[in-house]
Protein backbone atom coordinates (compact mmCIF):
# COMPACT_ATOMS: atom_id res chain seq x y z
CA UNK A 1 0.00 0.00 0.00
CA UNK A 2 2.84 2.35 0.90
CA UNK A 3 4.61 1.41 -2.29
CA UNK A 4 1.45 2.15 -4.27
CA UNK A 5 1.11 5.58 -2.63
CA UNK A 6 4.76 6.33 -3.38
CA UNK A 7 4.26 5.32 -7.00
CA UNK A 8 1.17 7.49 -7.26
CA UNK A 9 3.00 10.48 -5.78
CA UNK A 10 5.96 9.89 -8.07
CA UNK A 11 3.61 9.78 -11.05
CA UNK A 12 2.00 13.05 -10.00
CA UNK A 13 5.38 14.70 -9.56
CA UNK A 14 6.65 13.49 -12.89
CA UNK A 15 3.51 15.10 -14.35
CA UNK A 16 4.76 18.41 -12.89
CA UNK A 17 7.63 18.33 -15.37
CA UNK A 18 5.16 18.42 -18.19
CA UNK A 19 3.18 21.18 -16.44
CA UNK A 20 6.27 23.42 -16.36
CA UNK A 21 6.95 22.78 -20.06
CA UNK A 22 3.30 23.60 -20.78
CA UNK A 23 3.45 26.80 -18.72
CA UNK A 24 6.49 27.98 -20.65
CA UNK A 25 4.90 27.00 -23.95
CA UNK A 26 1.73 28.93 -23.07
CA UNK A 27 3.74 32.04 -22.25
CA UNK A 28 5.51 31.77 -25.59
CA UNK A 29 2.19 31.34 -27.38
CA UNK A 30 0.78 34.37 -25.57
CA UNK A 31 3.61 36.52 -26.96
CA UNK A 32 3.09 35.06 -30.43
CA UNK A 33 -0.62 35.84 -30.20
CA UNK A 34 0.11 39.36 -28.98
CA UNK A 35 2.44 39.86 -31.97
CA UNK A 36 -0.30 38.66 -34.34
CA UNK A 37 -2.96 40.90 -32.77
CA UNK A 38 -0.69 43.93 -32.89
CA UNK A 39 -0.05 43.30 -36.58
CA UNK A 40 -3.81 43.20 -37.05
CA UNK A 41 -4.12 46.51 -35.20
CA UNK A 42 -5.86 45.07 -32.14
CA UNK A 43 -3.78 46.06 -29.10
CA UNK A 44 -6.67 45.21 -26.75
CA UNK A 45 -6.57 41.56 -27.82
CA UNK A 46 -2.77 41.59 -27.53
CA UNK A 47 -3.09 42.90 -23.98
CA UNK A 48 -5.65 40.21 -23.09
CA UNK A 49 -3.38 37.45 -24.37
CA UNK A 50 -0.50 38.69 -22.23
CA UNK A 51 -2.77 39.26 -19.24
CA UNK A 52 -3.78 35.59 -19.40
CA UNK A 53 -0.12 34.60 -19.41
CA UNK A 54 0.73 36.53 -16.24
CA UNK A 55 -2.28 35.20 -14.37
CA UNK A 56 -1.46 31.54 -15.05
CA UNK A 57 0.12 30.16 -11.87
CA UNK A 58 3.60 28.83 -12.51
CA UNK A 59 4.11 25.15 -11.60
CA UNK A 60 6.28 24.70 -8.51
CA UNK A 61 9.14 23.02 -10.33
CA UNK A 62 9.83 26.03 -12.53
CA UNK A 63 13.03 27.56 -11.15
CA UNK A 64 12.34 30.90 -9.46
CA UNK A 65 14.76 32.74 -11.75
CA UNK A 66 13.07 31.34 -14.87
CA UNK A 67 9.62 32.14 -13.54
CA UNK A 68 10.72 35.70 -12.79
CA UNK A 69 12.26 36.13 -16.26
CA UNK A 70 9.11 34.94 -18.06
CA UNK A 71 6.73 37.01 -15.93
CA UNK A 72 8.83 40.19 -15.86
CA UNK A 73 9.16 40.11 -19.63
CA UNK A 74 5.38 39.74 -19.98
CA UNK A 75 4.71 42.52 -17.43
CA UNK A 76 7.15 44.87 -19.19
CA UNK A 77 5.38 44.23 -22.47
CA UNK A 78 1.97 44.74 -20.87
CA UNK A 79 3.13 48.02 -19.34
CA UNK A 80 4.43 49.11 -22.73
CA UNK A 81 1.06 48.32 -24.37
CA UNK A 82 -0.78 50.28 -21.67
CA UNK A 83 1.57 53.19 -22.14
CA UNK A 84 0.95 53.24 -25.91
CA UNK A 85 -2.79 52.98 -25.21
CA UNK A 86 -2.52 56.16 -23.13
CA UNK A 87 -2.97 54.45 -19.75
CA UNK A 88 0.19 55.36 -17.80
CA UNK A 89 -1.39 54.54 -14.45
CA UNK A 90 -2.08 50.97 -15.55
CA UNK A 91 1.39 50.85 -17.10
CA UNK A 92 2.85 51.85 -13.74
CA UNK A 93 0.86 49.12 -11.97
CA UNK A 94 2.09 46.49 -14.42
CA UNK A 95 5.69 47.64 -14.11
CA UNK A 96 5.42 47.52 -10.32
CA UNK A 97 3.85 44.04 -10.46
CA UNK A 98 6.85 42.89 -12.48
CA UNK A 99 9.38 44.51 -10.16
CA UNK A 100 7.70 42.98 -7.12
CA UNK A 101 8.90 39.60 -8.37
CA UNK A 102 12.47 40.66 -7.58
CA UNK A 103 15.00 42.94 -9.14
CA UNK A 104 18.12 41.36 -10.52
CA UNK A 105 20.65 43.17 -12.66
CA UNK A 106 19.32 41.80 -15.93
CA UNK A 107 17.55 42.99 -19.07
CA UNK A 108 14.10 42.19 -17.69
CA UNK A 109 14.52 44.48 -14.69
CA UNK A 110 16.08 47.14 -16.91
CA UNK A 111 13.09 46.96 -19.30
CA UNK A 112 10.66 47.29 -16.40
CA UNK A 113 12.56 50.28 -15.00
CA UNK A 114 12.58 51.91 -18.42
CA UNK A 115 8.86 51.55 -19.00
CA UNK A 116 8.15 52.53 -15.40
CA UNK A 117 10.15 55.70 -15.96
CA UNK A 118 8.06 56.45 -19.06
CA UNK A 119 4.84 55.89 -17.10
CA UNK A 120 6.01 58.13 -14.25
CA UNK A 121 7.05 60.80 -16.75
CA UNK A 122 3.59 60.66 -18.36
CA UNK A 123 2.05 61.03 -14.91
CA UNK A 124 4.20 64.05 -14.12
CA UNK A 125 6.28 62.21 -11.51
CA UNK A 126 9.56 63.38 -13.00
CA UNK A 127 11.94 62.73 -10.13
CA UNK A 128 10.62 59.17 -9.80
CA UNK A 129 11.03 58.75 -13.55
CA UNK A 130 14.61 59.98 -13.33
CA UNK A 131 15.41 57.39 -10.65
CA UNK A 132 13.93 54.63 -12.80
CA UNK A 133 15.94 55.72 -15.84
CA UNK A 134 19.06 55.85 -13.75
CA UNK A 135 18.55 52.30 -12.50
CA UNK A 136 17.82 51.04 -16.01
CA UNK A 137 20.90 52.82 -17.36
CA UNK A 138 23.05 51.40 -14.59
CA UNK A 139 21.95 47.82 -15.29
CA UNK A 140 22.14 48.10 -19.08
CA UNK A 141 25.52 49.86 -18.90
CA UNK A 142 26.99 47.14 -16.71
CA UNK A 143 25.61 44.39 -18.94
CA UNK A 144 26.97 46.14 -22.03
CA UNK A 145 30.42 46.31 -20.44
CA UNK A 146 30.25 42.61 -19.72
CA UNK A 147 29.03 41.81 -23.23
CA UNK A 148 31.85 43.81 -24.78
CA UNK A 149 34.40 42.46 -22.32
CA UNK A 150 33.41 38.89 -23.17
CA UNK A 151 34.37 39.51 -26.80
CA UNK A 152 30.99 40.77 -27.95
CA UNK A 153 30.56 43.22 -30.78
CA UNK A 154 32.10 46.64 -30.43
Amino acid sequence: MKALSLLLLAGLLSGCGDASARWIDEARRAHAEADARLREGDPGAAERALRRAVTQPAPPDVAAADRRAVLQDAYARLARLELVAGKPDQALRDADAGLELGEEADVFAAALRTVRGRACEALGRDSEAARDYEKAQSIAGRLLEQALGDGGER
Binding site: K2, A3, L6, L7, L9, A10, L13, S14, C16, G17, D18, S20, A21, R22, I24, D25, A27, R28, H31, D35, D61, V62, A63, A64, A65, D66, A69, V70, D73, A76, R77, R80, D106, V107, A110, A111, R113, T114, G117, R118, E121, A129, A130, D132, Y133, A136, Q137, A140, G141, L143, L144, Q146, A147, L148, D150, G152, E153, R154
Partner: protein, 151 residues
Protein backbone atom coordinates in the same frame (compact mmCIF):
# COMPACT_ATOMS: atom_id res chain seq x y z
CA UNK B 1 17.90 -53.19 15.79
CA UNK B 2 18.47 -55.79 18.39
CA UNK B 3 17.19 -59.27 17.39
CA UNK B 4 15.73 -61.17 20.34
CA UNK B 5 16.26 -64.59 18.80
CA UNK B 6 20.05 -64.17 18.64
CA UNK B 7 22.14 -64.46 21.79
CA UNK B 8 24.06 -61.32 22.69
CA UNK B 9 27.57 -61.10 21.39
CA UNK B 10 30.59 -60.74 23.65
CA UNK B 11 30.87 -57.10 22.64
CA UNK B 12 27.24 -56.39 23.54
CA UNK B 13 27.65 -58.09 26.85
CA UNK B 14 30.72 -55.97 27.62
CA UNK B 15 28.80 -52.82 26.76
CA UNK B 16 25.88 -53.83 28.96
CA UNK B 17 28.22 -54.58 31.81
CA UNK B 18 29.94 -51.26 31.45
CA UNK B 19 26.55 -49.48 31.36
CA UNK B 20 25.41 -51.26 34.50
CA UNK B 21 28.65 -50.32 36.20
CA UNK B 22 28.30 -46.75 35.22
CA UNK B 23 24.71 -46.58 36.52
CA UNK B 24 25.68 -48.21 39.81
CA UNK B 25 28.66 -45.92 40.32
CA UNK B 26 26.62 -42.81 39.39
CA UNK B 27 27.92 -39.99 37.25
CA UNK B 28 29.63 -38.17 39.99
CA UNK B 29 31.70 -35.12 39.42
CA UNK B 30 34.58 -36.06 37.17
CA UNK B 31 33.05 -39.49 36.45
CA UNK B 32 33.09 -40.93 32.95
CA UNK B 33 29.57 -40.49 31.53
CA UNK B 34 30.30 -41.47 27.94
CA UNK B 35 28.75 -44.92 28.37
CA UNK B 36 25.49 -43.41 29.72
CA UNK B 37 25.41 -40.86 26.88
CA UNK B 38 25.88 -43.59 24.29
CA UNK B 39 23.10 -45.66 25.78
CA UNK B 40 20.68 -42.72 25.91
CA UNK B 41 21.44 -41.78 22.32
CA UNK B 42 20.77 -45.35 21.22
CA UNK B 43 17.47 -45.37 23.13
CA UNK B 44 16.39 -42.11 21.51
CA UNK B 45 17.17 -43.47 18.07
CA UNK B 46 15.11 -46.57 18.75
CA UNK B 47 12.17 -44.48 20.02
CA UNK B 48 12.28 -42.16 17.03
CA UNK B 49 12.30 -45.01 14.55
CA UNK B 50 9.27 -46.53 16.25
CA UNK B 51 7.17 -43.34 15.82
CA UNK B 52 4.36 -43.47 13.30
CA UNK B 53 5.01 -41.62 10.00
CA UNK B 54 3.36 -38.25 9.24
CA UNK B 55 -0.27 -38.49 8.35
CA UNK B 56 -1.16 -37.32 4.84
CA UNK B 57 -2.91 -34.17 6.09
CA UNK B 58 -0.05 -33.28 8.36
CA UNK B 59 2.43 -33.79 5.55
CA UNK B 60 0.37 -31.54 3.29
CA UNK B 61 0.21 -28.85 5.97
CA UNK B 62 3.95 -29.01 6.42
CA UNK B 63 4.47 -28.77 2.67
CA UNK B 64 2.05 -25.86 2.39
CA UNK B 65 3.87 -24.02 5.11
CA UNK B 66 7.19 -24.72 3.50
CA UNK B 67 5.94 -23.32 0.17
CA UNK B 68 4.28 -20.27 1.65
CA UNK B 69 7.40 -18.90 3.27
CA UNK B 70 9.41 -18.36 0.06
CA UNK B 71 6.35 -17.00 -1.75
CA UNK B 72 5.89 -14.35 0.93
CA UNK B 73 9.51 -13.39 0.77
CA UNK B 74 9.28 -13.03 -3.05
CA UNK B 75 6.28 -10.71 -2.62
CA UNK B 76 8.14 -8.69 0.01
CA UNK B 77 11.11 -8.39 -2.30
CA UNK B 78 8.91 -7.13 -5.13
CA UNK B 79 7.27 -4.53 -2.86
CA UNK B 80 10.67 -3.39 -1.63
CA UNK B 81 11.91 -3.05 -5.20
CA UNK B 82 8.82 -1.03 -6.21
CA UNK B 83 9.19 1.18 -3.14
CA UNK B 84 12.87 1.74 -3.89
CA UNK B 85 12.06 2.67 -7.49
CA UNK B 86 9.31 5.06 -6.33
CA UNK B 87 11.69 6.64 -3.81
CA UNK B 88 14.27 7.15 -6.55
CA UNK B 89 11.67 8.83 -8.77
CA UNK B 90 10.62 11.04 -5.83
CA UNK B 91 14.19 12.10 -5.12
CA UNK B 92 14.62 12.93 -8.81
CA UNK B 93 11.33 14.83 -9.03
CA UNK B 94 11.82 16.79 -5.81
CA UNK B 95 15.36 17.91 -6.48
CA UNK B 96 15.63 21.70 -6.65
CA UNK B 97 15.69 22.68 -10.29
CA UNK B 98 18.53 24.82 -11.51
CA UNK B 99 17.60 27.89 -13.56
CA UNK B 100 17.88 27.41 -17.30
CA UNK B 101 21.05 28.92 -18.80
CA UNK B 102 19.59 31.94 -20.57
CA UNK B 103 21.48 33.55 -23.44
CA UNK B 104 23.40 36.69 -22.61
CA UNK B 105 21.79 39.80 -24.10
CA UNK B 106 23.65 41.12 -27.11
CA UNK B 107 25.15 44.61 -27.37
CA UNK B 108 22.41 45.77 -29.77
CA UNK B 109 19.72 45.07 -27.21
CA UNK B 110 21.71 46.72 -24.44
CA UNK B 111 22.41 49.80 -26.55
CA UNK B 112 18.70 50.02 -27.35
CA UNK B 113 17.96 49.75 -23.66
CA UNK B 114 20.43 52.52 -22.81
CA UNK B 115 18.90 54.75 -25.49
CA UNK B 116 15.33 54.09 -24.31
CA UNK B 117 16.18 54.80 -20.68
CA UNK B 118 16.88 58.48 -21.29
CA UNK B 119 14.42 61.22 -20.52
CA UNK B 120 14.32 62.08 -24.21
CA UNK B 121 14.36 58.45 -25.31
CA UNK B 122 10.70 57.81 -26.08
CA UNK B 123 11.51 57.51 -29.80
CA UNK B 124 13.98 54.71 -28.96
CA UNK B 125 11.27 52.62 -27.31
CA UNK B 126 10.18 50.94 -30.55
CA UNK B 127 13.74 49.84 -31.25
CA UNK B 128 13.89 48.39 -27.75
CA UNK B 129 10.61 46.58 -28.47
CA UNK B 130 12.01 44.89 -31.55
CA UNK B 131 15.32 44.01 -29.87
CA UNK B 132 13.44 42.54 -26.90
CA UNK B 133 11.25 40.54 -29.28
CA UNK B 134 14.33 38.89 -30.85
CA UNK B 135 15.90 38.25 -27.45
CA UNK B 136 12.60 36.79 -26.17
CA UNK B 137 12.73 34.13 -28.87
CA UNK B 138 16.21 33.13 -27.71
CA UNK B 139 15.07 33.04 -24.09
CA UNK B 140 12.07 30.81 -24.84
CA UNK B 141 14.29 28.57 -26.93
CA UNK B 142 16.65 28.15 -23.97
CA UNK B 143 13.73 27.52 -21.59
CA UNK B 144 12.25 24.89 -23.88
CA UNK B 145 15.60 23.17 -24.16
CA UNK B 146 15.80 23.08 -20.35
CA UNK B 147 12.18 22.12 -19.59
CA UNK B 148 11.31 20.21 -22.74
CA UNK B 149 8.25 20.57 -24.89
CA UNK B 150 4.80 19.72 -23.53
CA UNK B 151 3.56 16.23 -24.45
Amino acid sequence: MIGEEKPPTAEELAEAESLARALEDGAGPGGDTSAVDDALAAANLLRASARPTLSEMRARAVLNRAWRTPRRSVARGAIAAVAAAAAAVLVFALRPRQPAPLPAPGPDLLRAQLAAARPDGSAAMSRLDSEMSAYREQVFGALQRAYGRPR
